[in-house]
């Protein structure tokens, strides 16, 4: 197939209807290649490369679904479930969660790793929204959407390794961060139930991704009507 120069492997695959699983990728914001779910095999390369940040080049032959890749993807999802506290039965995003969708897509019915049960905080200091770090998969979509689309840069990443977490402001309670415009874009971007609208109960969280896509499209293509 032929694609425009600079097209990522992910976009090229999407154009021909081949789905590659993603988690950190979000349409409209920059890519970071962090979750490693979109790794693909490239003929002639001993390394697996992330489709979301790898550009298609002349004559490239890629494989998106091999037994090795499937095993890797399942392990990634297992590690995520073991790393946080994902109790779907009481989660706002139950049934509307990309982590659940991924588990189904990669055939992960249980984690072979022991659950870590980390102690993580919940911050409901914001008047409209809350963040439950127990459900955060550290995709950094909230960081990028707030910085790149809203221009408020409320979110950042603090600490490292298993202690890594997203923070608001200078690690202040979210409600104290004056830069937050209460636009709700981070709520729409979050793949799990980590960032939620207050008052949402179990399995009730509905996100409006089309709002993000509309804004990006409007800016890039100057199409201001829905």
């Amino acid at each position: 197939m032929a694609v425009e120069a600079g097209t990522t492997l992910l976009k090229a695959a999407q154009a021909v209807g081949i789905a590659i699983p993603v988690l950190c990728h979000l349409e409209g914001v920059s890519d970071v290649g962090a979750c490693r779910l979109c790794l693909v095999e490239i003929q002639g390369s001993s390394k697996l490369l992330p489709a979301c940040v790898t550009e298609a080049t002349e004559g490239m032959v890629i494989q998106t679904q091999t037994p090795t890749l499937q095993q890797h993807r399942r392990l990634i999802v297992e590690l995520l479930f073991a790393e946080g506290n994902h109790v779907c039965a009481v989660c706002v995003a139950n049934g509307n969660c990309e982590l659940q969708d991924l588990a189904i897509a990669v055939g992960m019915d249980h984690s072979r790793f022991p659950y870590r049960f980390p102690h993580r905080a919940v911050d409901i200091s914001h008047p409209q929204f809350g963040i439950d770090h127990n459900r955060c998969v550290l995709c950094t979509r909230c960081v990028r959407v707030c910085d790149e689309i809203e221009g408020a840069h409320v979110w950042d990443v603090a600490q490292r390794g298993e202690h890594t977490r997203v923070i608001t402001g200078l690690d202040q309670p979210w409600g104290d961060v004056e830069a937050c415009t209460r636009c709700g874009k981070c709520v729409d971007a979050c793949p799990t139930g980590a960032i939620f609208r207050k008052g949402t109960t179990v399995a009730e969280l509905a996100r409006d991704r089309s709002r993000l896509e509309f804004l990006v499209n409007a800016r890039e293509k100057r199409e201001w009507t829905r």
Binding site: V32, G33, A34, C35, R36, L39, L48, T68, Q71, H72, L75, I76, L79, L80, A82, E83, R112, F113, P114, R116, V137, L138, V157, Q159, R160, G161, E162, H163, T164
Partner: protein, 161 residues
Amino acid sequence: MPDGEVKAVQTGGPSGGCIPAHLLDTSVDYESLVALGSMMGSGGMVVMDQETDMVEVAHYYMDFCREESCGKCIPCRAGTVQLYEMLSQILAGRATLADLDRLKDLCQFVKATSLCGLGQSAPNPVLSTLTYFPEDYARVCGLAQDPQREGRPAESVEVQP
């Protein structure tokens, strides 16, 4: 050596591997060390005597890597933590030979999928000790005396570095 014979030489720091005594004639250059599943790193070496438990060595280095992981990519952030826990279980005598296969699989996964060199090399101390000192793992797995427990002998543990 205070206690007699050399058991292994560790090169390349926490990203490197442990080279067994019978390969001590290897020349110290980049290619030869990588071929043995280790690396040059800063050129430093740790010489270990017969008293050294190689599982403890691997556990020690994995502790370092899990602390140093930046946390950006999932395989390194969460994988090194689980590798460390598996090694802790082995050291505590709570593991079986089947767990060694899981340990090896997770090592290869972290190596192949991590974003940067830290994750890509963090499993090296485990893989090299599994290759050259399987008896240390078998012993702490409590299986050296009972090779039939998992239905196959301890020597059949195969590791591709």
